[in-house]
């Protein structure tokens, strides 16, 4: 179910909001001209894929070479923080490198969750270098069926 916010009627009070809207649409338009997809580009490591269904919010990240014990996930209010490091794996003695493309180092990314979640029911798994965090939505934001009765 899509969360659609009502558009605030601030057009008269804040004339700059309209300019901002035009600028954003022009940006989106110039992106289509450049032949780029509408996919947002991550600027902070790791790139994330977030999906939701009726009950859960699923966050995925590709973290090859990161061990589960080097990963730290915390939640505070509606902010989820993902921290960790990728340690070098191979002992580097008497070794000559031909290519070195896999970076090592630390990362930290915080995201604001789009919905409230039940902090006691968070499950995180790291399988084959893919981290999957499953967060159960809080009971009050889950869709509820309302039955209609007739007299």
């Amino acid at each position: 179910m899509a969360l659609i916010r009502f558009a605030p009627q601030t057009g008269f009070r804040n004339p700059w909001a309209e300019f901002e809207r035009i600028r954003q649409e022009l940006d989106a338009f110039s992106r289509t001209l450049a032949g780029e997809t509408a996919r947002p580009r991550a600027t902070v490591y790791p790139p994330l894929n977030i999906a939701e269904d009726a009950d859960n919010l699923v966050i995925k990240a590709e973290l090859p070479g990161v061990r589960a014990e080097d990963l730290d996930i915390s939640i505070e209010g509606e902010t989820l923080t993902l921290q960790g490091k990728r340690a070098p794996r191979h002992d580097e003695e008497n070794v000559s490198y031909h290519r070195r493309e896999i970076e090592t180092g630390s990362f930290s990314r915080a995201i604001t969750l789009p919905t409230r979640v039940d902090v006691d029911k968070i499950n995180a798994r790291l399988v084959n270098g893919i981290l999957t965090i499953t967060l159960q939505k809080a009971a009050e934001v889950k869709p509820r069926q309302i039955s209609v009765t007739t007299d």
Binding site: L48, D53, V58, L63, T104, N128
Partner: protein, 134 residues
């Protein structure tokens, strides 16, 4: 080292591979290649690929590493809120300069990292050549 911040590396799609019959995406995995006196080791980043999804071949000095991620369970009512990376297959080829003992190639998959150890065949190992003064 260790304290360096990791940066986002956009996945690069494989170029000039020929067309595929299935609509699949192939990405170039990032690799580390290092060499010791006895072996050449290739480490490739292939997140999502299990040990069953890896295909390694060495033919005519061309090493091909290919990985297919395990299919994800699809859910009908799932809605994507943010997609910053794409998943797909991984493919990369290298021309190996050294003579490799093909029977002793070993490969392992841990935490989304593929490690291929290519032992050098005996003649390729460095021999010490004494220079005689005379």
């Amino acid at each position: 080292m260790g304290e360096k911040e990791l940066t986002v590396q956009e996945k690069q799609e494989v170029q000039h591979k020929g067309e595929t019959t299935r609509p699949e995406k192939y990405f170039v995995p990032a690799v580390d290649i290092f060499e010791t006196d006895n072996e050449v080791t290739v480490v490739a980043e292939m997140p999502g690929v299990g040990s069953k999804g890896v295909d390694i071949s060495l033919q005519d000095d061309v090493l091909t590493i290919k990985g297919s991620p395990e299919p994800e369970p699809e859910s009908d009512d799932r809605r994507i809120l943010l997609q910053e990376y794409e998943s797909g297959n991984y493919l990369r080829r290298f021309t190996v300069a050294e003579t490799i003992d093909q029977d002793k190639i070993e490969a392992s998959m841990t935490d989304g990292l593929l490690k291929v150890v290519l032992p050098k065949a005996a003649p390729a190992r460095p021999r010490k050549i004494e220079v005689q003064a005379g």
